[in-house]
Amino acid sequence: MKVVLDHLFMRFPSRKKGDPDTVAVSDFDLEIPDGLLVGLLGPSGCGKSTTLNLICGLLTPSSGRIFFGDEDVTSLPPEHRGVGLVFQNYALYPHLTVKKNIMFPLENLKGDKKMTRREMEEKALEAARLVQIEDYMDRRPAELSGGQQQRVAIARALVKRPGVLLLDEPLSNLDARLRLQTREEIRRIQKETGITTIFVTHDQEEAMSITDMIVVMEDGIIRQTGKPQEVYDDPANLFVAKFLGTPAINVFSGQIRSGALYAGEDIIADGLDGISDRKVSVAIRPEALVPDPDGPFRCGISALEVMGRDCSIVFTHPSGTSPALRAIVGSELLPGEGEKTVRFRIKPSKMFIFGEDGERIRTEERP
């Protein structure tokens, strides 16, 4: 089912009189096409969980409208929206068995939707099979591992065949290995059912790896939406550039003077004739820095980290905005032991220039 969020606002009144209201979600305008897996991504406190609660109906927006398909659901209570929600802590009922947990939503159905016990058990088994938990139907949640509890929670959310599946930080309570496994699992389940799925995460790797589309949020505002790789390759502003990618992007304070880009005293790019002289921020991905004896970017080496496949050079530069800057290079290009300085060549497609307001300054030769 297509989900449309039309200029959503969510304000929470302040506790003290005179203080401004807290705006958790501001002018949220988004269309999620049918059948996609979408990641709401942002640091904690950016309003992503609030947005999820608005979509499922646990919160009512201060203004704006929400559509599922063509139906306006803004004022519908959660139970009439046809959504399934998986909570961050799973919220499985500890006193009920796995089977009863999965059947719980079905037992609430009324009128002509009411099911017999047999139908419910069949539906529950079907949902359990989908998440591969059917062997544990008679256990209680406390007797399951974190990953298994997660599956039960997904089965419970799916058993009514919702039009939209919502997941709130679904992987945050799992250990690293399970997290990897479970995110593939979520992808598989989503593909199999074709249900429009929206999940909230603060982990960019999680969002990038399995989603069809990511929505990057900051302070209740959408900073950029798009396919994960496109957003990574072409960030619209400094926030998005910094938020996506591990290790984090390197940021330098630079200047444009008569068409040349200076980082400190180094001219790292030129021919930027369309841009007037000004102060800028330059962001360079760690993988865009290639050691080159003739390169224009002169840096001091503070450490070399060798980790098998990739090696990183931790370096310093007078214009760098953080003390630890990082370049990821192939081991064959690593400078020798004892070297104090290194010169880099920069791959232009992975270098982005931002104005002082943090918005991207695009140059003519690059899209």
């Binding site: 209570p77 959660p78 929600l85 919220a91 009922y93 719980f104 609430n108 419970r156 009514k160």
Partner: protein, 296 residues
């Protein structure tokens, strides 16, 4: 015994000594007294041993009256007070405004002296030559004839005692249940709301099972507390409970030790052990019933 063991016992010594002298020894003594016929504190003598004390107590009409009173008190007040406490806690946890004020008001009886409260109850319910008392005035307003609740018919006196007991034990139960209700994670209710669960179903299927360990705790301690009732009855009916027909088992034990008919430690010990056996049985039954039903 190695060095460590000796040290461990040394450290345990104060606790072991105190528990031994003031708990284990008296407990054993009570059992011994209960089988010694006509034991006398002053002369430390007795006529013989046997089960005569138990037989005497069980055939004593005052004891049977006390047993009956105690059982009625337990059966009426434990379910009533727990039920009322649950209703009030649910109401308290669903309001936002003035929550603290109401919580404080409901907690006041807990910090009030038993005898003072008993006095107030007596004044409210008593009928004298000069005044009918507030409760009787209210009854009169509804066209009912006045009843002497303190020195009148048995059911009226029992009503006052039960009313008083429920009122006195409510605050503690409300305190426990409101905190139990507050500790239920909000996400369970949110999950239930998304699934379209009705409010009554939420209560029966989620809230109640979640707080069942606390309810169970309150029922068990409620039973034990009500079986040990004594001071409440004294506060309302005075010290001569046998005359009022409102004695309780603990009251009977006290009377046998120190009352007008006092000086019978053997009978008192036997009665105390009978009470112990009853409380133990009831608690075991409680545990058996709750096993499997209470999740914790």
């Amino acid at each position: 015994m190695n060095e460590n063991n000796r040290k461990a016992w040394l450290y345990l010594m104060p606790a072991v000594l105190f528990l031994g002298v003031f708990m284990v020894y008296p407990l054993v003594d009570v059992v011994v007294y209960s089988f010694e016929e006509g034991y006398n504190f002053a002369s430390q003598t007795f006529f013989g041993t046997g089960t005569y004390n138990y037989s005497y107590v069980l055939h004593d009409p005052y004891f049977m009256q006390a047993l009956k009173n105690t059982f009625i008190l337990v059966i009426i007040t434990v379910p009533l007070s727990t039920g009322f406490a649950l209703l009030i806690s649910l109401a308290l946890s669903s309001i936002k405004k003035l929550k603290e004020l109401f919580s404080t008001i409901y907690f006041l009886p807990y910090v009030t002296n038993t005898l003072a409260v008993g006095l107030v109850f007596m004044i409210l319910f008593k009928k004298t030559a000069y005044s009918d008392g507030l409760v009787n005035l209210l009854l009169g307003a509804f066209g009912m004839s006045p009843v002497d609740f303190i020195e009148g018919p048995y059911w009226a006196k029992m009503f006052v005692l039960c009313f008083y007991t429920v009122w006195v034990v409510l605050p503690f139960k409300i305190l426990i249940l409101t905190s139990a209700l507050a500790s239920v994670n909000e996400d369970y209710y949110n999950a239930a709301r998304i699934d379209g669960t009705s409010r009554s179903r939420m209560f029966w299927r989620i809230t109640l099972p979640m707080i069942s360990p606390m309810i169970f705790y309150l029922v068990i301690t409620g039973f034990i507390g009500a079986f040990k009732a004594y001071s409440d009855a004294v506060a309302i009916f005075g010290t001569n409970l046998n005359a009022a027909g409102m004695n309780t088992i603990v009251g009977y034990v006290y009377d046998m030790l120190y009352g007008n008919s006092g000086g019978y430690p053997s009978y008192a010990s036997a009665a105390a052990l009978i009470l112990f056996a009853i409380v133990l049985t009831i608690t075991v039954i409680n545990l058996m019933i709750s096993r499997g039903k209470v999740s914790a």
